[in-house]
Symmetry: C2
Subunit: 159 residues, 2 copies
């Protein structure tokens, strides 16, 4: 795979370029898999991720806080949250510290949907990880986290 397209790259840079290309493809495949996984519960990948973020949260938060936790823009999460509220999976609770910034709470129905998908996700991801050593996954995670850190430093966070 060493060809003219990697002129100007350090060995690390050439390897990283390949890794980034593979990451794009992985993202597409994960999104497709997430769609299949969540469809049976009547959700989508993005809605499930937002629901999870709220479910995993240690305390009720406004939309903007959840967005920051997820590393997404505020408005992206806002619209998904509005959809989830309309679907009855999330509810807005009054925020004693801020009139407009209502707190997000998961409803009983939302909790049921979250647990239903969790029961599907666990065996799915176990199968996906089968055959890969924990050490390798941790190395990969380390590389990805290092990239995220570097990219976040050089990136003017939106707004």
């Amino acid at each position: 795979m060493k060809n003219s397209f990697y002129k100007g790259h350090t060995p690390e840079g050439a390897a990283m370029t390949q890794f980034i290309r593979a990451s794009f493809r992985l993202h597409g495949l994960l999104m497709a898999a997430g769609a299949r996984l969540t469809r049976s519960v009547g959700l989508t990948s993005a809605r499930w991720q937002v629901l999870s973020a709220v479910a995993r949260s240690s305390e009720p938060k406004p939309v903007a806080w959840v967005a920051r936790d997820m590393g997404l823009a505020r408005q992206s999460v806002q619209r998904v949250v509005n959809d989830l509220e309309a679907a009855g999976l999330l509810s807005f609770q009054p925020n004693p510290r801020h009139i407009r910034a209502t707190l997000l709470a998961i409803t009983d129905e939302g909790h049921r949907a979250f647990e239903a998908i969790t029961r599907l996700q666990a065996p799915w991801v176990n199968g996906l990880a089968e055959g890969t050593k924990v050490r390798e996954i941790e190395t990969a995670l380390h590389v990805v986290q290092g990239l995220c850190r570097k990219l976040q430093e050089n990136a003017p966070s939106a707004e």
Copy 2:
């Protein structure tokens, strides 16, 4: 990070779940970085990737072939290609084997844009990879490629 949310997961599955979450964030950050990188040439991340795929291709191909190479749906690439053609960076060449499926060729202007971005991308990715060992990147690439392979097997390819 071992908490109740990883019940039902094997050790590999728990690590993989973390890795997938990190991958989503990485994708978002890479897209943002790609936007900054390509904006100066008047392109976007997606258009640059399609242009690169055509530029790297060993022979002229119809849109559907390029889409398969990139692991994307045919129509996603089709619309970007139409935009690139309208912008004068790509051109449609007659295909002796198929009247409708014209072949994609890069124009002089497209070549200039591609090279301009390549000159920006190389130092950018070198800096990004700096401090990460090639061995680690290759392990991460190996993990990602393994995931892609597994996901592609279990996924009914679109259409």
